[in-house]
């Protein structure tokens, strides 16, 4: 689980070209989106991150938007979603 989280953080950093951010700086439970919170990513970032996750893990977000938003809540939530989708395959 730890490895997946670090991988995810690296994907977030490279996909979004976050400067001066290392995987260690990203809290597993901190919210990724929203102003003034955690990484403070916006909706364009979400689209890009979604595409990057699709490319790296081969998992898609087929659910309706509200569900998708939950998966994007934090690194932990994303990791949980990716592992559960992979098991289904």
């Amino acid at each position: 689980m730890e490895d997946l989280n670090t991988r995810l953080k690296n994907i977030i950093i490279s996909a979004l070209e976050l400067e001066d951010v290392t995987p260690a700086d990203i809290d597993d439970d901190a919210p990724l989106f929203g102003e003034g919170e955690g990484l403070g990513l916006d909706s364009i970032d979400a689209l890009e991150l979604g595409l990057a996750i699709k490319e790296n893990f081969g998992v898609s977000f087929k659910a309706v938007n509200d569900e998708t938003r939950k998966h994007f809540a934090s690194v932990n939530a994303l990791a949980a979603f990716i592992s559960s989708s992979k098991q289904e395959d």
Partner: protein, 324 residues
């Protein structure tokens, strides 16, 4: 502001008609010869023209701006009638095209369209930013039911504001159920649909999305731009989407060569965007603006060339006036 918003959505419904009008149009298209369809619609359209004051007003605002931009003389009520009648013809031709009754041979040749076709047949998709100018629906229908193998191979996936024109789409769904399956709802653009679009692009689809439509549900971020000599609000969403998908971006407009006939050739003007989104995302914001400027220049140019084939009867410009 809220009132004016409500107002133009209502108008959109008025201008797209009620379900019996659609049924009537559909029956005409199905059973009558085209010149007769044109004659009947011209007569009915005249009464609609007399009754629909808000539509006339917005049509006039647009026609005045386009006349000023091209240095033509001030439009009259006759021009306004022609504009509305052209819109009626566009609805009829959409029905014809969805029934597969327009021939691909009705197209003119175009070099950049050929480039787009090559791009798509190579298996790599592209994004086409459409507008209210002309009728790109035609392109989608030709892609699926055309009798020219070259175009028949094209796979087209339009992104449509489904809720906003539902009655009309209901009818189109009846005419050609399969085509409707390939549509992405513009009101649902999120991570999942971005991935779906990316998938389609990788399969060689042409994704068609309007760059000048403000969604009825999603109040997207808008940007103020000069359009036909005045400030107007353009939604950023389509351009943002185009910027992250990583496929070549084209602008397009499908227009009738004869303004007021259904026996006409069609011209599809395709222009490849010079703004590219490869490489770093740091200057993306500026690039999105550059892409929007390019797009607006293309739409303006098309409006000047085909003033009556601009099918938007809501006033971009009025919104600006209310805001300021």
């Amino acid at each position: 502001m809220a009132d004016s918003q409500a107002n133009w959505y209502d108008q959109k419904e008025v201008s797209s008609g009620t379900s019996w009008t659609f049924t009537f149009m559909f029956l005409m298209v199905k059973y009558l010869p085209r010149p007769l369809i044109v004659a009947i619609s011209a007569t009915i359209c005249f009464f609609f023209f007399l009754g629909a004051k808000p539509v006339r007003k917005n049509s006039m605002t647009y026609l005045e701006k386009v006349a000023k931009a091209t240095g033509r003389k001030k439009p009259t009520a006759i021009d306004c009638y022609k504009h509305i009648f052209s819109f009626v013809l566009q609805m009829l031709e959409k029905m014809l095209s969805w029934m597969g009754r327009l021939n691909v041979s009705d197209l003119t040749k175009d070099a950049e369209r050929e480039e787009l076709r090559k791009q798509l047949t190579s298996g790599h998709g592209a994004i086409l930013l459409s507008s209210h100018l002309g009728n790109l629906d035609m392109f989608r229908s030709l892609g699926d039911s055309g009798n020219d193998a070259k175009i028949k191979d094209l796979r087209i996936c339009p992104i449509v504001d489904i809720d906003n024109s539902s009655r009309y789409n209901d009818l189109l769904r009846k005419l050609n159920p399969e085509l409707m399956d390939n549509i992405i709802n513009a009101n649902d653009i999120g991570v999942d649909s971005a991935i779906m679009i990316k998938d389609k692009i990788d399969k060689g689809y042409l994704i068609v999305i309007a760059g000048d439509r403000i969604s009825a549900k999603n109040h997207d971020r808008t940007v103020r731009k000069q359009f036909l000599g005045d400030w107007a609000e353009f939604p950023e969403g389509a351009f943002i989407l185009a910027s992250i998908i990583g496929a070549p971006i084209y602008f397009g407009a499908g227009t009738r060569c004869k303004n007021f006939s259904l026996n006409t050739k069609y011209e599809f003007t395709i222009r490849k965007a010079t703004t590219e989104f490869s490489g770093s995302r740091k200057d993306r914001k500026q690039k999105i603006q550059a892409l929007m400027d390019e797009y607006i220049a293309f739409v303006e140019e098309s409006c000047k060339k085909h003033p009556y084939q601009w099918y938007n009867f809501f006033d971009f410009w009025e919104e600006k006036e209310q805001k300021s």
